[in-house]
């Protein structure tokens, strides 16, 4: 297992570094991006290849800048300018750029960076983010890692830029666990796989033939829980990503499914179906004791904790059709929060706490939507034959989901949409893929 997994051996020494040459700070308002408005007018940003005095460093500098450009473009908030249009070629990032040259090509921000190869096994990535119209440096950062981790360095650079310009934390240095699908619809193989947030480095996590569905990350990003048909009665498993150590979670008088970690990682919330009735249980992962949270004879399923761990959102058809409910984490204080026309399923609480993503089906179409935790402010972000399985970016600004096309040759793909609903994109996967689950930012 270890061999197929990339083990990150690196230490990120990230520290801000100041500017050597004097730059006059102007009185202009600093460049900032309002993330809540959608990508009507993405900010033009120039990201030249990171410079290096070393040939290996030059190659990394080129590849790394390409990944940063792609990250920022995909966010929908930035337009990466074509490097062919650049007038100035900087030779030292410690000196201020010729702002006029960048204004001519209408860049609003410039990222100038360099790669310093300290040894075969250690490199430094340094960059400065410039506000072209303000004529000032917005931030500077130095990162250290092993050269083969240059992709993660690139994502950390993207996160720093995104964070500086939007005032929100980023989401690029993260991974996606998903289900790789192959074979015809009536005989589909479903295998657990993982990849970087941008689709790079896809790898299978399990090699067996058993159908695996609904994987989810632990909050420390080191473990995955999923449901597998390994035995006749399917059950929930825990997998340690680095060691490949796998564990059947608990022994229940029925099938268990729909697992999800609590925000502190100490509790697993899950659904147990006993005598045909599905109820929600919480399992303490240290003592392995379980608490039944719902006792309704209706279907209670798909539970997800609020980031403070005090409340739970879940799916129930106790009112006659599937709707979204919230309750306290001890099972008390149950409230229905969805009231629109149609069926509501698969609610997931945002890591920011401010929204709940869900699936709504109405009029023969499926939608990914969001609402406030009290049920107000419902907005539908997507529409297709079958959209489902929303999962939040670490900063609660982007949602990944599965989209399945109809018919005998129907296939699943992973798509992303931001909270404004304007930035809908397909996420590249090696083949058909479903059930994405986004990790928190990597440590």
């Amino acid at each position: 297992m270890t061999s197929i997994l990339r083990i990150f051996v690196m230490c990120f020494a990230a520290l801000a570094f100041g500017l050597a040459s004097g730059v006059v700070t102007t009185a202009h308002a600093q460049l900032s991006i309002d993330i809540t408005k959608g990508n009507i007018d993405p900010t033009p940003i120039a990201i030249p290849n990171f410079m290096s005095t070393d040939s290996r460093g030059k190659q990394i500098g080129q590849d790394l800048a390409e990944v940063v450009r792609a990250d920022l473009e995909r966010s929908g908030l930035f337009r990466s300018l074509d490097p062919k249009s650049f007038i100035e070629t900087q030779s030292n990032i410690d000196y201020a750029p010729t702002f006029a040259d960048w204004r001519v090509i209408k860049a609003e921000a410039l990222v100038s960076g360099r790669i310093v190869m300290e040894s075969d096994s250690r490199m430094r990535v340094e960059f400065r983010l410039w506000d072209i119209f303000g004529g000032e440096q917005l931030s500077g950062l130095r990162l250290a890692a092993t050269p083969d981790n240059w992709r993660r360095m690139a994502h950390k650079v993207s996160d720093a830029i995104y964070s500086q310009l939007t005032g929100e934390s980023g989401y690029f240095d993260s991974r996606i666990v998903f289900i790789d699908e192959s074979g015809p619809k009536t005989d589909r193989k479903k295998r657990l796989a993982i990849m970087d947030q941008d689709g790079a480095n896809p790898q299978f996590l399990l090699t067996g033939p058993s159908t695996v569905i609904t994987p989810r990350f632990s909050p420390n990003t080191q473990k995955i829980t999923y449901m597998s048909y390994e035995n006749i009665v399917p059950a929930i498993y825990l997998l340690e990503i680095e060691t490949g150590r796998r564990e059947l979670l608990g022994s229940f008088p029925g099938m268990t499914f729909a697992p999800r970690f609590s925000p502190d990682g100490n509790t697993m919330i899950l659904t147990l179906s006993k005598g045909g009735n599905s109820d929600i249980y919480a399992m303490d992962l240290r003592s392995r004791s379980t608490t039944q949270l719902t006792t309704n004879s209706a279907i209670d399923v798909s539970a997800s904790y609020a980031p403070d761990g005090r409340n739970i959102v879940f799916n129930s058809d106790r009112g006659g059709s599937p709707q979204i409910y919230t309750m306290s984490s001890d099972g008390s204080n149950v409230k229905r929060i969805s009231f629109g026309k149609g069926r509501y399923n698969a609610p997931v609480w945002s890591p920011r706490g401010d929204k709940i993503a869900f699936v709504k089906s109405t009029g023969g179409k499926f939608h990914i939507g969001v609402m406030n935790p009290d049920g107000s402010g419902e907005r539908l972000l997507t529409e297709s034959y079958l959209d489902e399985g929303p999962t939040w970016s670490p900063n609660g600004r982007v949602i990944l989901f599965s989209r399945e096309t109809r018919g005998r040759n129907g296939k699943n793909e992973i798509w992303s949409v931001d909270l404004t609903g304007t930035n809908l994109r397909r996420v590249p996967t090696p083949g058909s893929a479903s059930d994405p689950a986004w990790s928190p930012l990597l440590p």
């Binding site: 099938m255 659904t271 045909g276 009735n277 698969a346 079958l386 018919g407």
Partner: protein
């Protein structure tokens, strides 16, 4: 001879029943193994022989019929399809589902060493986890009915596949109707 005729007639009745349920099969039949075809054999000439008494019981079985007690026999006795079908988002049994399950129960009671896994299935128009819960309800509906008919509860294990095991790839009313089912999966027969 009369006995033979009755057997033929009842076999024909079974075949008819098979073709008419579930009714969606009529519209777009699944490719299933060809059903045995019965053709009347020429009557043997009467020959003087010793009186036949219980001989019919130990007579060699019709080679066109599944071996009694086999998995194929179970499916045959269930009308050719050991699945019962449900309405959209429903888990109550229809009258034809109950007929099918009565035949299943009769077989299971006759071969009481056989255990079965009852698999609940849902169509694709639902979310994965909700459909697992829905499939669990359907599997339980089937199990409860069989237990009510006298099949021991411990012989029946229920499992839900949700929408993970469609038998029909079409995204149409007929395809969805076939995929909403409870399947009695007899993995090992009492014989062979």
């Amino acid at each position: 001879m009369t006995k033979n005729l009755i057997l033929l007639v009842s076999a024909a009745a079974l075949m008819t029943a098979c073709a008419s349920k579930p009714e969606v099969v009529e519209q777009e039949p699944e490719p299933v193994a060809a059903a045995p075809i019965f053709t009347p054999e020429p009557e043997p000439k009467p020959v003087m022989q010793a009186p036949v008494q219980q001989q019919t019981v130990v007579q060699a079985p019709d080679p066109n019929l599944p071996v009694p007690g086999s998995v194929a026999d179970f499916i045959y006795q269930a009308g050719g399809d050991a699945r019962v079908y449900f309405g959209y988002n429903q888990y109550n049994l229809t009258p034809s589902a109950m007929d099918n399950l009565r035949a299943q129960a009769a077989w299971l009671k006759q071969y009481d060493s056989v255990n079965a896994v009852i698999e609940g299935n849902a169509d694709e128009r639902g979310t994965r986890e909700y459909n697992l819960a829905l499939g669990a309800r359907r599997a339980e509906s089937v199990k409860s009915f069989l237990v009510g008919q006298g099949v021991a509860s411990r012989r029946l294990t229920t499992v839900s596949y949700g929408k993970e095991r469609p038998i029909d790839g079409r995204s149409s009313e007929s395809g969805w109707a076939r995929n909403r089912n409870g399947h009695t999966n007899v993995m090992n027969g009492a014989v062979g």
